[in-house]
């Protein structure tokens, strides 16, 4: 059965974090017009995609949206699109925002999965990352969500901060177990071009880990979660069991079509990818006129598609169809070195292979 994913980008933040390159603005007064534009954009895509099996509201900071706006938004989704049975409906939450009533209301609106942007359970790390919440807030947010009835909860954590030790990082991971959180994304701190953090790094102000150290973090994380029975199902993602995999994100890695709404969101219909303008003003102007706020578009050739299948597949434990890769002495060596294993006619990366997924893709791609 064909299905698709729906992503909605909420371009508002209370303040910008210095490491983040996602599009958002801090002028919250534009929230109302944005929700209106969003519903108009939905209308323009009515009938264009197969039923959505996942809905993901990300940002930005969706948890800044007052409940009536969330309701308007979700009503728009239900009105203009068809959904599969039991869709996964995720909302990203800033730990500073999550109170129990808000969570309860979300659940009533049909939201069944929360991703809480914890980043760290250490106040020093949080200050460095410019977060507006404290470690304690994160613990409270997780508990509130659980008390509001959410089971499918994921948190985001970041490693590889300046001077961070493996021990301090592992304290973060222990909290995942203590709080009985079934899904966690562990991201290596990435310097994104043009962010304030990147500027600091370029000025030489940050003592960031070298590649060997990053590998140590990666390995420690993998080891910790395998000890606790989690599945390392994607480069940065771990789940207690496959029921807690991010179904929405799996769409991206499995090249299932997705529609992205809101400024800067990307969409994919199987043959084309297009992206919206990264300016809320332009977004509002276009949607008001009933014009899709698309800024760029590309056609995916057959060759591109195969390459995407390889490099996206290699990010996941599921790997790639073996037929896509030519058998060669090089492949044999990669298997021997333990970067990949063959399983059910698929080439699956080992944890060591996941850490090198990009390089593996470049090397084994047939053309």
């Amino acid at each position: 059965m064909s299905e698709a994913g729906l992503y909605i980008h909420i371009p508002f933040c209370a303040r910008k974090c210095p490491y983040c390159h996602f599009y958002s603005i801090t002028n919250l007064e534009l929230m109302g017009p944005f929700i209106e534009g969003l519903v108009r954009e939905m209308e323009m895509y009515r009938g264009a995609f197969p039923p959505f099996s996942t809905i993901y509201v990300g940002g930005g900071s969706p948890s800044l949206l007052p409940l009536p706006f969330i309701e308007t938004m979700l009503n728009g989704v239900f009105r203009f699109f068809s959904l599969t049975r039991n869709p996964e409906v995720t909302v990203e939450v800033n730990p500073a925002d999550g109170d129990r009533t808000w969570f309860k209301a979300l659940a009533q609106l049909g939201v069944n999965r929360l991703i809480i942007g914890v980043q760290s359970f250490d106040d020093g790390d949080l200050a460095f990352l410019g977060r507006r919440h404290r470690a304690e807030d994160a613990v409270v947010a997780v508990k509130n969500a659980q008390e509001a009835g959410f089971v499918n909860i994921g948190i985001d954590l970041i490693y590889g901060l300046p001077q961070q030790s493996i021990e301090v990082w592992e304290d973060n991971l222990k909290q995942v177990i203590n709080l009985a959180i079934p899904h966690v994304s562990c991201y290596e701190l990435t310097l994104e071009e043009g962010t304030p953090l990147d500027e600091r790094a370029k000025r030489g102000e940050l003592n960031l880990p070298d590649e060997e150290m990053k590998w140590q973090f990666f390995q420690a994380t993998d080891g910790f979660f395998s000890e606790h029975g989690f599945i390392h199902y994607e480069v940065s993602n771990f789940a207690r069991d496959d029921a807690f995999y991010s179904r929405h994100n799996l769409h991206y890695w499995q090249r299932v079509p997705y529609l992205g709404l809101g400024p800067s969101a990307h969409s994919f219909d199987g043959h084309h990818r297009w992206w919206n303008t990264s300016s809320l003003t332009r977004y509002l102007r276009k949607t008001e006129k009933g014009v899709k706020p698309i800024e760029g578009k590309e056609e995916i050739t057959r060759e591109d598609a195969i390459f995407e299948e390889i490099f996206l597949g290699l990010r996941t434990r599921d790997g790639v169809n073996k037929e896509l890769v030519r058998h060669s002495p090089l492949l044999e060596s990669l298997l021997q070195e333990g970067y990949l294993i063959v399983d059910h006619n698929r080439l699956r990366p080992t944890p060591k292979g996941l850490a090198l997924a990009d390089r593996l893709a470049v090397i084994i791609c047939p053309n």
């Binding site: 991206y252 969101a265 990009d358 090397i363």
Partner: protein, 598 residues
């Protein structure tokens, strides 16, 4: 002949030689100002970028002097590197005088002196020219003092100009007329003309650039190239404007061109003498030397699909470079390619750059080699310029390598540094000679293989550029030679093999291993790089594998960007050579053949 002047401009780099040439061309009206493109004589991109002239050029400037007479001033531009020193000597042999250009802000510099020595060797009239006098930092009194003390010339003879601003150019033209002697020669004597360059014209074949010393040559004449021992019928003669200007004859004292249906530029040798078939001159002009390649290396396309393109490019390139020779070759590691001969390392670099730039090819060069001589047990003697053809060591009874006699002229304060360098380069039988106070001439006999690598660069830095260097091949001498192989993960990379003196082997091997370690990107496996003589490993380095190379996030908005980024890496990978499972970039091959002291 009284109205002809043949001259060249010599200068330290950037002192304004090309600008002055342009101004002379402009003021004598050869080119309309609006047609003017800066630095007309440096035709090649490489020449402009490196600031060196590789091919000689010539142009005739018509000039009416203050004495009311019309003169023809033949400006002959010269190449500027030791690899082409023979071409320089032939170009200067075609002149009676030089303009020695000195930058008023920089004063006398290294090449000012080196060039002056060359001109003195040819007994040429020298006109010192102080250029760039318009600049605020110009210090003319200082330069005048240098002209007297450092160059040993009469400062009263100098002229001052700003080639850029067009100041003082008339006076220079007058000085050329007054102070450079007119050519001597006998129009009625048998023809004797010196070939100082040749160029290829796709319509007319080879265009010979020559200076007539005696006699006269006309369309229809049967001419003989004495050293090439070939006879041709002259189709056209003329002199050089901005384009060729056809004339009926070229006579004694004149500089111009001859077109004679010569298909290949390699049929013409710089320095050869042209005479008439019917009434030949009694002896060829002095100073001929066959331009023999002394450095050999193989060229391979990075992508083996490009082999045909490379073959075509070499064929075309060869049309305009008589000194370049090549033949088919193949390598186990690198596939089909060509073995090529060069005048020296700069020549090699020029060829490589032009192939890449003008023909859009990505090529790999093997480590350059000289031509060695081996006597085998069965008495046969083999010449080997390609390490791939190194004989079975068990069969070698005698190994010999070519030696040169290096002639170096420099201010005497650099003598110590240069002698140390020559000894390090296995130099022997040194001789010292003081042609004038403060100036020393040093000769050394050295293995050619030591000289081609980095001798010239180190000589230049050792003399702070104030030395001139030239060499001639003398003989072969017995030498303790070994074949040094480079192995990457146990696989021999034959293009990196080199024949070296045993005392040099370890040092060269380690250097190659270290260069490769720097240039080969890390991969997914540990890479061992080894240098070996036979089965004996004499140096090794390793490259550790990647540990982590993956972006933390790759969601809907990241995929296109990510694909493009990886696509770029894939392209980069395609530009590398696979040796076993190791991708080796072109830069690694080039790094190995770079000189030792960079």
């Amino acid at each position: 002949m009284e109205n002809i002047r043949n001259f060249s401009i010599i200068a330290h780099i950037d002192h304004g030689k090309s600008t002055l040439a342009d101004r002379l061309i402009e003021i004598t009206g050869v080119v309309e100002p609006r047609q003017f493109k800066d630095q007309i004589l440096d035709n090649l991109d490489i020449e402009r970028e490196r600031g060196i002239t590789i091919k000689s050029q010539a142009i005739t400037l018509p000039y009416r002097a203050r004495d009311g007479k019309e003169y023809l001033l033949n400006l002959i531009d010269t190449p500027g590197h030791v690899d082409f020193s023979y071409e320089v000597s032939r170009a200067l042999a075609a002149c009676e005088g030089v303009l020695l250009v000195i930058d008023a802000t920089q004063g006398v510099q290294a090449q000012t002196l080196a060039n002056l020595y060359l001109a003195l060797e040819h007994d040429l009239a020298i006109i010192p020219i102080i250029n760039k006098i318009d600049l605020p930092s110009a210090d003319i009194p200082r330069v005048l003092n240098q002209i007297e003390v450092e160059l040993g010339l009469n400062p009263k003879d100098h002229l001052a100009c700003s080639a850029k601003e067009g100041i003082g150019i008339e006076a220079i033209l007058e000085a050329i007329v007054e102070r450079i002697p007119p050519p001597k020669g006998d129009k009625n004597a048998p023809l004797a003309a010196l070939i100082f360059d040749a160029q290829y014209d796709s319509f007319r074949g080879t265009v010979i650039h020559c200076r007539v010393f005696d006699g006269e040559v006309a369309t229809g004449d049967l001419i003989r190239l004495i050293h090439s021992d070939a006879v041709y019928k002259v189709e056209e003669v003329g002199r050089f404007g901005l384009t060729r200007i056809r004339r009926d004859t070229l006579s004694a004292g004149e500089v111009g061109y001859i077109i004679a249906g010569i298909k290949n530029i390699s049929d013409v040798q710089t320095g050869d003498t042209i005479t008439h078939e019917e009434r030949p001159c009694s002896a060829p002009l002095a100073g001929f030397r066959e331009a023999k390649p002394v450095v050999f290396a193989s060229i391979y396309p990075i992508a083996s699909d490009d082999y045909e393109d490379l073959a075509q490019a070499l064929e075309k390139y060869k049309l305009n470079d008589a000194a370049f020779v090549y033949e088919k070759d193949s390598s186990v590691a690198l596939g089909q390619g060509f073995r090529c001969g060069f005048l020296g390392l700069l020549h090699l670099e020029v060829v490589q750059e032009r192939l890449e730039r003008e023909y859009g090819l990505s090529i790999i060069l093997s480590v350059p080699s000289v031509k060695y001589r081996f006597t085998l047990r069965d008495g046969t003697v083999v010449m080997v310029d390609n390490p791939a053809h190194y004989p079975n060591p068990a069969h070698i009874v005698k190994a010999e390598e070519p030696f040169i006699r290096a002639q170096m002229i420099m201010p005497d304060k650099y003598l110590g540094a240069v002698m140390k360098l020559c000894q390090e380069k296995r130099g022997e039988n040194s001789h010292l000679h003081y042609p004038s106070p403060g100036r020393v001439e040093l000769t050394y006999e050295m293995p050619l293989s030591e000289v081609i690598f980095d001798f010239y660069d180190r000589f230049k830095s050792g003399t702070q550029g104030y030395g001139s260097f030239d060499y001639e091949l003398i003989d072969y001498r017995e030498s303790n030679l070994v074949l040094l192989d480079i192995l990457v993960n146990g696989e021999k990379v034959d293009a990196l093999s080199q024949i070296v003196h045993r005392d040099r082997a370890r040092e060269r091997g380690l250097l190659a291993c270290e260069r490769l370690q720097e240039e080969i990107p890390r991969q997914l496996f540990k890479i061992a790089i080894q240098a070996a003589i036979g089965s004996e490993i004499i140096a090794r380095t390793t490259i550790n594998p990647y540990r982590k190379d993956v972006t933390a996030k790759c969601y809907g908005g990241d995929i296109t960007r990510k694909r493009k980024l990886l696509e770029k890496q894939k392209k980069g990978k395609k530009r590398m050579k696979m040796i076993g499972e190791v991708h080796i970039p072109q830069s690694a091959f080039l790094a190995v053949l770079k000189s030792d002291h960079e």
